[in-house]
């Protein structure tokens, strides 16, 4: 029996990882700070036709693209004459377990099966758990989902409790932990104990699985709208959603489509704090994941994260908690669609953005998720109140304070975004490396430029500025 202490398990990380993913990540390391991202993706993931074939086997993908005609009409009514883009929604809730995460899980689980693993493990409190559980069962593999779920009083976040229920409904084991990043320690322990496959959210296969989403959006837009969309809006947390979608768009030749990330602004709440845990009314798609994963993707549970959002993001828009609840209500009342919280984050940003755009431009909100007990706005707002968070009607811009006040807009004109400039994220990206003694130099400039979507000269200039 090997040593199970925290330090000892963490020190075995590299060997546990190698055994549980079956990728020689070391092979892709470059001299200096970088690695060969495209090499890793093309060697270890699958081409689009194979991804589509894998996903068809388990009923994943091929979801409808729906025009939100009433919301578009409302937007036009509150915009200047001639303004108000057409808004479309990719109804990813139509996937087997109810979110785009099935795309990600389908390829991971197929890979695990192909490599001969008997089971899969995923560390996730979100929809991904249900997706992995659903896909694993279809392919006859065992499944364990590890969640960060409870605070010190044993009170669970309702949305996370719902995900646990869904995982168990598919026949998975759910290990529920209290708050803290040491979840990773337990994850490693279980990988070692079971010898199961690490169905990480961040492997090349998982990200390749999302590429079909971007690919479908391009194809459907051409069919339904007659052209590529001008904008695709993606709810952004760990960065896989945006990365995979953008890569899929590029593979479909939709190079001109601009890819915009959107997150709920939860600034001020600490992600590893037991006290703040149940004052968060969102479990994903918020800045608590969105910013850290954009500026240092390699904090994930694999040696090199295949989700690298700053490579693909054209803009990053933040919205307020109350706006997302309002828009969730709007989607039900105006479009007859009850859908879960996460996709409605990018829909909120889309509504605000559409007001500035000419009527002939188009926005695709790239996902929805299922909703229900624990996930519905009434469930989250009731929980917020129980945890001392005020819920009021008021302008979110002036009233919303994460962890303290949720302001439901008084009218649709109060739906606004705030833009987080990408240059600030790029600076942070460089700072995060330096903080970890990964100091970029002249020979890393090509890699750095690709990582933060700048030209080599711009990257050189920024590096010099930050290093000063």
């Amino acid at each position: 029996m090997s040593d199970m202490s925290y330090e000892s398990v963490m020190s075995r990380k590299a060997q546990i990882m190698r055994a549980s993913i079956g990728i020689e990540y070391d092979k892709y390391e470059l001299e200096g700070i970088g690695f060969d991202y495209e090499g890793l993706m093309s060697d270890t993931a699958y081409p689009m036709e194979e991804i589509t074939a894998i996903q068809r086997e388990t009923g994943v993908g091929n979801t409808p693209l729906v025009e939100l005609k009433n919301i578009t009409r409302l937007v036009r009514e509150i915009s200047e004459p001639g303004k108000g883009a057409r808004i479309f929604l990719k109804d990813e809730a139509a996937n087997p377990s109810g979110s785009f995460k099935d795309r990600r899980a389908s390829v991971s689980v197929a890979r695990a099966k192909e490599l001969g693993y008997r089971g899969v493990i995923a560390a996730t409190s979100g929809n991904y758990g249900a997706a992995v559980a659903s896909q694993a069962m279809k392919r006859g593999l065992k499944c364990i989902v590890i969640q960060e779920c409870y605070d010190r009083t044993g009170t669970g976040q309702p949305e996370i409790l719902e995900k646990a229920r869904a995982c168990e409904a598919y026949g998975a084991e759910v290990a529920q932990l209290s708050v803290g990043p040491e979840l990773f320690y337990y994850f490693l322990l279980l990988l070692e104990e079971t010898g199961y496959f690490n169905a990480s959210l961040y492997t090349p296969f998982a990200i390749a699985g999302i590429e079909s989403l971007g690919f479908e959006i391009a194809q459907q837009s051409r069919r339904v709208i007659g052209k590529d969309p001008n904008f695709v809006l993606a709810t952004h947390a760990g960065g896989g959603n945006l990365t995979g979608t953008a890569r899929g768009l590029i593979k479909a030749g939709a190079e001109k489509t601009s890819v915009i990330g959107a997150s709920v602004d939860l600034s001020g709440l600490h992600m590893a704090s037991d006290r703040d845990f149940n004052r968060k009314s969102f479990t994903t798609g918020h800045t608590g994941f969105g910013i850290p994963f954009a500026v240092f993707p390699d904090r994930s549970d694999v040696p090199r994260n295949a989700a690298r959002p700053l490579r693909y993001m054209d803009r990053y828009l933040l919205v307020k908690q109350g706006e997302v609840f309002y828009v969730t209500e709007m989607l039900a009342r105006l479009e007859g669609l009850q859908r879960g919280p996460a996709g409605n984050t990018s829909l909120t940003a889309a509504i605000a953005l559409a007001r500035e755009l000419p009527e002939d431009s188009t926005i695709v909100v790239q996902e929805t998720e299922y909703t229900g007990a624990g996930k519905a706005p009434s469930a989250q707002l009731t929980f917020a109140r129980k945890n001392g968070v005020k819920v009021v009607r008021g302008d979110p811009l002036t009233h919303d304070v994460p962890g303290k006040v949720i302001a439901i807009p008084e009218n649709p004109s109060q739906i606004k975004y705030t833009e987080l400039g990408l240059d600030r994220l790029r600076e942070s990206y460089i700072r995060e490396l330096i903080k970890r003694q990964i100091v970029p130099s002249e020979k890393d400039l090509d890699y750095l430029a690709r990582e933060i979507k700048l030209t080599r000269d711009e990257a050189a200039r920024l590096l010099k500025e930050v290093s000063r």
């Binding site: 065992k142 337990y186 590893a272 007990a373 004109s413």
Partner: protein, 103 residues
């Protein structure tokens, strides 16, 4: 209350004690243990709440911990009536019906 062998139960255990938490966690988290809850079928003959037992999980693992709940139910729901939300919804419905309540 006693649980019998084969019954679906939830157990609780401590993975890391308060002093053993990762160095990076904020103090309110460092001050409490890292806890685990997991459900499965009771392997012991019979047991009462708080007793250390073994369960067989859905993935086929044997896990040990203190018996916490017998046949746990899912407690999450749709929450209370939220007037602020329902009012917002009604405003939107009135707008759609062509009313003048918008704005």
């Amino acid at each position: 209350m006693m649980a019998r062998r084969g019954q679906w139960v939830q157990i609780h255990s401590i993975l890391l004690k308060a002093g053993e938490r990762a160095p990076s966690v904020p103090s309110d988290t460092a001050d409490v243990p890292l806890e685990l809850r997991v459900r499965g079928f009771l392997q012991d003959g019979s047991a009462s709440i708080g007793q250390v037992v073994r369960i067989l999980t859905a993935a086929g693992r044997l896990v040990e911990g203190a018996l916490e709940i017998i046949e746990p139910r899912h407690v999450h729901d749709f929450g209370d009536y939220v007037p602020e939300l329902s009012q917002a919804g009604d405003e939107l419905t009135i707008w759609l019906a062509g009313g003048d309540e918008n704005e």
